[in-house]
Every structure is written in C-alpha cells, then in structure tokens.
Amino acid sequence: MKYIEEFRNPQLAKNILNKLSYKVKKDLTIMEVCGTHTMSIFKNGIRDLLPENINLISGPGCPVCVTSQSYIDTAIQLCKRNNVIITTFGDIVKVPGTYSSLKMEKALGKDIRVVISPLDSLKIAKQNPNKEIIFLAIGFETTAPIIALSIYKAKNENIKNFSVLQSIKTMPNVIKKIVTDQEVHIDGFLCPGHVSTIIGVKPFEILSKEYSFSSVIAGFEYCDIVAAIYFLVKMIGKEEYEVKNIYHRIVEYNGNEKALSMIHEVFIPSDSIWRGFGRIKDTGFELKEEYRNYDVKSKFNIKIVQSSIHKECLCGEILKGLKKPTQCKLFSKICNPSNPIGACMISQEGTCSTYYKYGIR
C-alpha cells in the first residue's frame, strides 16, 4: 500500500461520479477551503464531471493569497535595510506590493533567498554572523510547526541574528467567519486536509455542530475528492451536521500532537489580518513573551505599513467565495501570471492562478 495509487483508480472515481448524479436533487454549494484541493479539482477536470447543480467554490486556503498587502510592503521595506538577508518560501517572492515586489528587489541586488525549510535560515544565520536573517513566516497550521521549531532552535542554540516577520494564519475561525457572513451561503465544506493533519478532526466537528453544516475531511487524489463530494451530498440531504473524516490514512482525531506541542511552545493565539476579510479574531499567532526577541517587529520596533490595493481587484470577494475569477474585470486581461495584480493570481494554489492555468477564461 503506497497510499497514492489506490486513490487514483479511474474506474472507482467514475463509479462514484455515476452514483452522485442520482443523488443530487437540488442546487448545492460546496466550498473547498484548501488551495491544493482547488488545484487537484482543476488538474483532474472534476468540475466538468459533476452534476450541473453542484457549485464548487474555492475558499481562503492559499496562504500567499490571504497574506495582506501591508505584510508584503513591510517585507520589502525590511529587505532594503543594511545587512539584512531575507529568507522566504518561493511563492511570496512574486507577490506585488504597492510599489515593488521582492522579485524586483532581488533583481536590484537585495539579498533575498528562497528556502525550502525555515530551518535553512538558521544555517544562513550561522554563516553570516554580521547580518540579520529575517524569515518571512507565513502559512497555516501546516507551516506553523516547522516555523516554531526554527524559533525554538534559534533560542536554544543562542542564534541572535535570526528573526521572523510573522503572519501565520489559523483555519477554524475563518470558516466560522464565512458561515456567519450573511452574504455567503454554503451547504457543505471540503475541509483542508493538510491543516487537519496537524489540528485533527475536533475543531471542524465543533464548528459543524455549532453552525449546522456538513463537512468532510479528505485527501487530494481524485478518488478522495469525488468521494468527499459524494458524502457531502448525502450528508446535506440528510441534514447531518457533522464532520466525516475520509482521510484516515493521514488525519488522526487529535491531529499531530508533537507538531501541536511545538506550536504551543512558541506561539499564542492572536487576531490576524486576512486579505479580503480584514481582522479576524483568533485566526493567527503571536510569539510568546520568552520568544519575542525573534519577532522582527518587536526586535527592531517596526510598524506595519498601511497599504491600499487595486480598487478593481476582486481577490477579497473571491477568497470569500462570493465571486469567481471570471467575474473580475482584471482577470486574464490585465491580471495574469506574468503580471499579477492580486495575490490570488500569484500563488500556484491561488484561485485566479488555478483558473488561468487550467484555461477557464
């Protein structure tokens, strides 16, 4: 059992899709929260194969897309300081700030390095004792453990020239924000599989019960996704407001306890600013007092700059599932992967980028 091939069984997927077509009696809106689900849905052409009255919308599950523009502008300001090396995940380099991007600054000679793991920043810090290494710490509960581990190790190894510009987001309360939004109507959620791996089933169980919606935790192969939609349709029909975990091979009820304890060692919950949503209570982290020296904002007393975004960019509505990229005036005309205006076009997992890449115009 390799846990991949078994979930790529075309005949099985076709059988599930076939059964599904008998089940759907009324119009249903399902939100896939995670960007990787969005990618897989398009990559496998799943939308075309679903009954017409199932409407799939993409949620705020791409970490680059929900990162606020002011964060990017602050990162750009930081890279211009003397003796600074910025380390970052790849996707964020291309995100346009108000006047520039990290990619542009790199071309102009600023020291900006793409790393695969934040732990690589510690190696760079040791090699460059006279420079400050600032890691752009973004992501969800998925990247939080390794970022926490980097900060923990930096403290334990007494590495003083390392800090993070932190804007990690947490998932459950943004789903709450979406279901309580009067403008949005969603019948069921395809819960984020990777986030569930870390935080487990419980947070989604509580939400489903409290706010009366059906949800399924699923993996990312096409059989996972069509099965999740099949179960969601069934649960919505029976008004079963709970969470079903069909990603047992990875997701345990209590999540990954080791990863969670590392998160809790370094971070405490805080509010966070989401692109398109603004400030949402308890959807982010801040560093605990004893790790505060690793927060670039307190270390150098940096104020986050306020930024404005292109007034016709619909990223905000798209992230809430209120609009589709094709409804945006800028989409594919002015805004495309070579010239992205909003963050949803930059990240590989962004809804606009996915629509563009897979030819939905």
């Binding site: 496998n44 096409y222 997992e349 030819g359």
Partner: protein
C-alpha cells in the same frame, strides 16, 4: 591546483597553450586544424540550417550529463528536429577565473565525445575569461550548421491535419527534475538521470520510414505542454493528449508532486515530439522504439479540428483541461 586565470583569455601565449593542450587535443579535426581566423567549409548538399544556443546550467555536472554534453546535444537536436543533418558546430566559452583546468578539460572531453557520437565536427571556437563573480564558473554558446538532404521534406505546422497522431520518444521531465534534485537545499535522495542525449540518429530512423511526418520539436524549457502550444499556434487546429498514455517515471512524478510541479511543463533534453499522419503513426512508433533512445516512445494524443489552437488534456477520469503555455518560474510550493 591548476586554474584558469585572466591570462588564459588574453590572446597571448597562455591562451595558445590552452587552445593546443585542451581544445585542439579533444576537438581535433581537419577543419579546426586549419587554424585560421575562420574555418572554410565545403559546399553542403542541400538547404542550410543554422541554430544557436547558450548554456548556463547549474550545476555544471549532473547525473546523465554535464554542461559540455548538454551544449552539444541541445544544438544538434535543434538541427535534427528541423529535418536537417547536423554537420558542424562552433563553440564559445565564457569562463570565470579560478575554474579548475581539469574541470574545463572534463567538459571539453565530454563535448568532443558527444559530437563524435553524433558524427558532427567542432570547427571553430572562442574563449573569454572574466573576473571572479562575472559569470558562474562557465557558460557555453554553441552554433550548429546542417543541411536538409530531402528537398521535399517540409516540416511545418500548416501540414497538420485532423487525426494526425502525437508521438513522444520517451518519459517526460527527466532532465528538469534531475537538475532540481541537484539544487542546493533540496536534499532529495532520488536517482533521476537527465535524458540529455543527441537525437539525430533517432530522427533519421523515423524520417527514413515515413514521408508523413508533419512536425518535430524537442520539448526543452517549458516542457511538452509549452512546445505543443508553440506548434499549434496559428494552425487552426487543436491537440488532445490522453493523460493515461503519457510516459512519466515514477520518481519524476513523485518529485513533481512534492514540489507542486507538472511533468508536462518540465524540461527534457533528449526527447522528440513527432506529429505524423494517422496512417503512418504505428510504423513510426515501431521504428522509434527500435532505437534505444526511443524505447519508451508512445502515442499520446491526436490533432482535432476545432479551430481554437488549444492543447487539451483528457484526464484519467474523463475530465478535460486546457494546457496553456508555461508562464511561471519553477518554484517550490509552500504547503
């Protein structure tokens, strides 16, 4: 350690010694040894094909090849897929001072070996040495000259017709993923070899067996999807590929998935994609499979008449998606 210094590029005695001890030694042939400011060639028997390419790959040595081999393969393949018989190559080196001369010799020897394998002569060259930091170790430019023997051979997208088959000569994405796996910071313990190879004999084999080849390309940067988009542009036809027929090595697929990449967009350096009439497709496929470089050849799709200039992929479960040209940089994903 014996290293390249600025004086190796000065044109003086040290340069001459380098040319004699390394370049002439390995590239040796009657035309190069004319030792004039330019090499004089005999008339070629057909229309002349010329192509040029520069090579800046990092790392310079990788499983399955090196920058030298690549610089010969890339240029020979561009000639071959245009239907030309590759004859001559010129080479230009830009070297960063401090490069170990043994490394240079290894690269030069690899170029000579590859050219010999393709029956191509290296007939002219140039070396420049620049200060530390001005280039990354070594950059190479090669220009290739060949000729089209068959007067009737005309490879052009306008010839493409509905029902024509698309054949690829083997697995996709090997070169790109091999290079990615060698990059610093990506400590992947995988055994992916670059497919870097000269294709002229494979192309000869298939052109000898069919007069119905409409178009050939080597899908390098941007991968197969981008190459097919380039071919189909302006043809008023479209292409449908079948996902289940695409040959991709398991380790390449796994690595692509970990990095969020699609093998259809990853570079190849020893593959040819052929568009051939439906009638001759199996004959061509068999001929390609008989050549060791084409043993994994497969028919992967066909041309349709929808006037939209698109490349579609029929997914394993029966969905359809459009394969656009490549627009992004190859960057790892973050979650």
């Amino acid at each position: 350690m014996n290293v390249i210094t600025l004086s190796h590029g000065s044109g003086g005695e040290t340069t001459h010694k380098l040319i004699k001890d390394i370049f002439y030694k390995h590239f040796e042939n009657d035309i190069l040894l004319q030792q004039n400011d330019s090499s004089i060639l005999q008339k070629l028997d057909g229309k002349i094909a010329v192509t040029t390419d520069s090579f800046v790959i990092k790392p310079i040595f990788f499983p399955g090849g090196d920058i030298g081999k690549l610089s010969i393969c890339g240029t020979i393949n561009d000639l071959a897929v245009s239907g030309a018989k590759p004859m001559y190559i010129t080479v230009g080196f830009i070297i960063e001072e401090g490069l170990d001369i043994n490394i240079l010799e290894k690269i030069v020897s690899s170029m000579a070996k590859t050219a010999k394998q393709a029956n191509v002569k290296i007939i002219a060259g140039d070396t420049k040495v620049v200060e530390k930091g001005s280039v990354d170790r070594i950059f190479i430019n090669t220009t290739g000259i060949g000729f089209v023997k068959d007067e009737e051979l005309y490879l052009c997208a306008n010839n493409i017709k509905k029902g024509d088959k698309i054949i690829i000569s083997g697995t996709l994405g090997d070169h790109g993923m091999c290079i990615m796996s060698q990059r610093k910071g990506l400590d992947f313990d995988v055994d992916i070899k670059s497919d870097c190879n000269v294709l002229n004999r494979l192309v000869d084999d298939l052109l000898n067996i069919s007069k119905e080849v409409k178009m050939m390309r080597d899908p390098t940067r941007g991968g197969l999807a981008t190459t097919l988009n380039e071919i189909i542009e302006g043809s008023h036809k479209s292409i449908v590929l079948n996902e289940e027929d695409l040959p991709v090595k398991e380790e390449v697929m796994s690595m692509c998935e970990m990095l969020g990449l699609d093998p259809l967009y990853v570079a190849n350096e020893g593959k040819v994609v052929v568009i051939v009439s439906r009638e001759d497709a199996y004959k061509v496929l068999e001929a390609m499979k008989r050549n060791p470089l084409g043993k994994d050849s497969a028919i992967i799709g066909e041309v349709i008449d929808d006037n939209k200039n698109k490349v579609y992929l029929k997914t394993e479960i029966g969905g359809t998606r459009i394969l656009n040209m490549y627009t992004e940089d190859l960057l790892p994903r973050i979650c």
